[in-house]
């Protein structure tokens, strides 16, 4: 377990580990819908055509049980939905690890973190870490790495 004295130390850890970040500082693009936010990653990094990327994202959102969020803009999403879309965005990004930074600052209810952790457990091929500034019982017995 790593202990970070400051938030800057935590960000340094993120930089060194080449992580896709899910945090308040990496929001969804407000002009784009949830689907467009996700397909942007595929269109830019994987160079997948617009049409094909849209089909892939549509299927992915359906598999994750978030199909109804497809056409919603970030301002139409609640906090949990925003974090979920951010997490999927991190999953489809080219980075091998995913770091969720200070999740409680992005969520309305403490229980919402259970949903986020359950969602992250669907990402078999990626290592998911939660980086927080304080310990919380929610991290116990979850499959993702917990770093204080």
């Amino acid at each position: 377990m790593n202990i970070f004295k400051t938030y800057t130390d935590l960000l340094e850890f993120v930089d060194q580990n080449d992580c896709a970040i899910v945090s308040e500082d990496t929001p969804l693009l407000v002009e784009l819908s949830a689907q467009e936010n996700l397909s942007l990653i595929l269109k830019y990094h994987e160079k997948i055509s617009v049409k094909k990327a849209d089909i892939l994202i549509k299927e992915l959102l359906k598999d994750m049980g978030l199909g109804k969020l497809r056409d919603k803009k970030p301002f139409e999403l609640n906090k949990l939905e925003k974090v979920s879309i951010q997490l999927i965005r991190a999953y489809i990004s080219p980075f091998e690890k995913i770091c969720i930074i200070k999740p409680f600052s992005m969520l309305n209810r403490v229980e919402d973190l259970s949903y986020i952790i359950t969602l992250s457990e669907k990402f078999d091929k990626k290592e998911v870490s939660v980086l927080d500034t304080h310990l919380h019982n929610f991290y116990k017995e979850s499959r993702c790495l917990t770093i204080r």
Partner: protein, 252 residues
């Protein structure tokens, strides 16, 4: 000190514009995401505005052409009408008017968009996810704006020429073949080169200057109005300088 900072800023705009321009020549920069940005920008700058643009151009064209041709006839300069239409209305006035028009519409929009992206941490997301803002946003928008600018300019020039012909026909009953000959005699290769170069520069800087300022503004909401007003002032100043330089090249 203020003057030195101003020169530094102009230099930064120049470097950023050159970087965006060089990105055009690398095929790797044309990702599907960049192409999508390009299409959206063409739609916004050139297509969405078309009905109101045509209407304004017709009204404005009749007015401007009317003033110039009336004055030419009044002062006995009938033989210089072709020269006045080509040199003054088409080569000098048209690009300048379109540049001001597109700056007010597209320049402000791009400035606000990039500045808000900066304040909302969206630029931070792009950086963290290794999405190059020049490749994804600035270069495709600048290229799209340049193409849209030239297209709108040709449309503007065409409407101006038609307005001129109608006005001349009604005033002095000049035939279309004589009108065309007068125009062709007045136009030179130098005019065409200046007209196109100036249009390409205007089309490009209308995006790169607001983009640069948006990227480099302070991350505070209350700075946005001041920053945008400074950006637009800089943009108008540079448009004015380009216009003056083109006049100097042509007439000095």
């Amino acid at each position: 000190m203020g003057f030195i900072n101003f020169i530094k800023k102009i230099w930064s705009y120049y470097i950023f514009t050159i970087i965006c321009f060089l990105y055009i020549f690398n095929p790797k920069n044309y990702t599907p995401a960049s192409r999508e940005t390009f299409v959206k920008q063409v739609f916004y700058t050139a297509i969405e505005i078309l009905p109101i643009f045509i209407l304004l151009t017709i009204v404005f064209g009749i007015f401007i052409v009317g003033v110039f041709i009336s004055l030419a006839i009044e002062y006995g300069l009938k033989e210089y009408i072709g020269y006045i239409i080509v040199k003054i209305i088409i080569v000098e006035l048209s690009p300048f008017i379109i540049a001001l028009f597109i700056s007010l519409r597209t320049g402000i929009r791009v400035g606000v968009k990039i500045a808000l992206m900066k304040v909302n941490n969206e630029l931070n997301f792009l950086q963290r996810y290794r999405i190059d803002i020049v490749r994804y946003l600035c270069m495709p928008m600048a290229l799209a704006n340049t193409i849209s600018f030239v297209s709108l300019l040709f449309l503007f020039a065409l409407i101006m020429l038609l307005s001129s012909y109608v006005y001349i026909f009604l005033s002095i009953d000049m035939g279309f073949d004589i009108f065309l000959t007068t125009l062709l005699n007045a136009v030179s290769l130098k005019d065409i080169i200046i007209f196109l170069t100036k249009s390409l520069i205007f089309g490009f800087i209308i995006i790169t200057i607001p983009s640069y300022d948006g990227i480099h503004m302070e991350k505070r909401y209350f700075k946005l109005p001041k920053s945008l007003s400074k950006t637009m002032l800089s943009l108008f100043f540079i448009i004015f300088i380009v216009e003056v330089l083109s006049l100097a090249i042509e007439y000095i």
